[in-house]
Amino acid sequence: MTTDLAPPTGPYGAAAASRRPSLARAEVRRITSRRFVRVLLLVALAGYALFVGIAAATEFGRTTPDQVAAAEGRLDEAVAQQERARQLCLADPGRPRDVPPEQVCGPETPAGAFRVSDFLDRQPFVLADQLPDGAAGAAGVTAVLAFLLGATYVGAEWSSRAMVALLFWEPRRVRVMAVKLGVLVAGAALLAVVAQLLWWGTAAVMASRLGTTGPLPSGFYPDLLGRQGRAVVLTVLTSLLGFGLSNLVRNTGAALGVGFLWLAFVENVVRSLRPSWQQWLLSDNAAALMSDGAYRIQLPDSGGGRGRELALSNLHGGLVLGGVAAVIVGVGVLLFARRDLH
């Protein structure tokens, strides 16, 4: 030490605090000061910009009437070629007579089987199609980011043991956890909202420059807002899953490992061994939460028949994810509240 140490001059105890104590302010400062959090968000933003740039440069573009006419010509040719092949098949004398011809040669090519856009080198960016699809994609990205943020937020506190030091300042453990969870939920919701707004703005610009902003089908905006609202819910729930898992195992790396193992291995094993249990799997319920209408799972029939279909609603997806998150977070908080800390 290089300086003389002198005792603090009063006031003492509570009188020394002249600002309003705020655990929430400390938590916001803590999470926003984390380099990992900043780098993660910057990398995500850079990845987004790159993705949009590549898509704008290679996938989308306004088309001239000549290009559309040429694409329509290629579409007609493809339909005609498919029909010629079907007729040849039907005329084939070697075709098995005891099997219906549709099963051997296929059905007649229906109108609308192909889209003109499939025959264009660069498709116009159609707001009515791309905006909702992109909103679901953004939800997936923010869900993964939120899981990482939730896991690292509390995991770093355990690995540095700053969680214990915090209790010298706020000994009410449940309150400490509640504030952390509140900050995480608000942060995850903010992340999802910003991502959805960013995508909305990007899509509007791309549609006006590389495609078309209209016409929009009826009920477009309510459907879009519903999907974006569910994106926020999904992001918040995955952040809670990451937080809860990391709080249970008290290590970010272990939490991420468990999460990866679950999604990449356990869920696939369950799908193959117990297909009917898919309705309880996290990834299926995340898809159900984000799907337009019911999310359908085709279950094989054990007798070799056509099997049956399971339809999972948005509500089902939300409730299952929410229930799992509540259990994981709840058990972690309970253990934190009761256990001795060293």
Partner: protein, 323 residues
């Protein structure tokens, strides 16, 4: 040697005479469960009273229960049994009400390694509503202001410890709990912490509860001391009283034939050891008994003097005696 536990709590009250207390522990028990093994007893009926003001040394060998006691007082660990009070309030129940007056450094400082020293303190300051000015004061106080923007992970052990002390001082606490605060400090740092502890203890507003296994650290700054062994307080009180108790009955004896003298004294029922070329007779209530035993064997004294115990010998005696 027999030192009664709790020199100062003969009356069994929650005060030291006219003094109010900052820490009171009565009959605290704590065992840690261990998988596949018998539970480990950390506290075994601990009684402890720390009066307001000054520096109270909390001394004990490693594993004697010092840190467990502090953790229980700060609400990190639950006692299996016993009553505890901090700043006059029962804990852990009233801990949220009293924690604002308690600063603590328990073992190693716990901070975010990637954050700067200043940011780590500001996070804690936000939690308690302490001003940024106070953060700077505390950084200045421990000599870290110039390095405050460096990352905590880059600090030396001593700097980390000093930041921990700065954090403990942020609240300008009425009770400052320091658990092994000299860990990792160089000799100059140890001396300065000792000075700080001394000054804090004499400012009339702060009570410093200084836990250490380093006798020298405690000996130079303490006003009172409690000695722990195997989860029990084996001596407590003002240092002068503890030392007097530790020396009670010990005599230094020199005679021309020390071997014969040792036999004679042992035969007379005394416990004798050889220290620095002289015989040390333990537990002699009356020096005349020693003289009588030696003269009966035609052994004549060249020296007979009472032994003044230092804290180290008291500490070693007390902690060795425990079953």
């Amino acid at each position: 040697m027999t030192l009664r536990t709790g020199v100062w709590h003969g009356a069994g009250t929650a005060t030291y005479g006219a003094h109010m207390t900052v820490i009171e522990v009565a009959g605290a028990h704590k065992s840690y469960r261990r998988r596949g093994k018998a539970p480990e007893k950390a506290l075994d009926g601990l009684d402890l009273v720390v009066a307001t003001g000054g520096v109270h040394g909390f001394l004990g060998p490693n594993g004697s229960g010092k840190t467990t006691t502090i953790r229980i007082l700060l609400g990190l660990v639950r006692a299996d049994a016993g009553e505890l009070r901090l700043l006059g309030q029962p804990v852990p129940q009233a801990l949220p009400q009293v924690i604002g007056g308690v600063g603590a450094l328990v073992e190693t400082p716990l901070f975010f390694p990637a954050f700067s020293g200043r940011l780590n303190l500001r996070l804690l300051a936000d939690t308690a509503g302490v001003t940024a000015t106070r953060v700077e004061e505390c950084l200045e106080l421990v000599g870290l202001r110039d390095r405050a923007d460096d990352r905590f992970r880059g600090y030396s052990l001593g700097m980390k410890q000093r930041l921990g002390i700065a954090a403990a001082l942020l609240k300008s606490p009425r009770l400052l709990v320091l658990d092994e605060p000299s860990n990792g400090l160089d000799p100059a740092g140890i001396r300065e912490v000792r000075e700080l502890v001394r000054r804090l203890g004499s400012d009339g507003s702060t009570t410093v509860f200084l836990s250490s296994h380093l006798l020298a650290e405690i000996e130079q700054v303490r006003d009172a001391v409690s000695i722990l062994a195997r989860g029990r307080c084996v001596a407590t009180g003002p240092v002068s009283q503890v030392l007097a108790g530790g020396a009670a009955g010990d005599l230094r004896v020199r005679v021309p034939d020390q071997r014969r003298a040792a036999h004679a004294l042992t035969a007379a029922g005394f416990t004798v050891s050889e220290v620095d070329g002289a015989l040390q007779v333990h537990g002699a209530d009356d020096p005349a008994d020693v003289v009588r035993a030696l003269v009966a064997q035609d052994l004549y004294l060249t020296e007979l003097s009472p032994v003044t115990a230092d804290l180290e010998s008291v500490f070693l005696d007390l902690t060795r005696q425990q079953p």
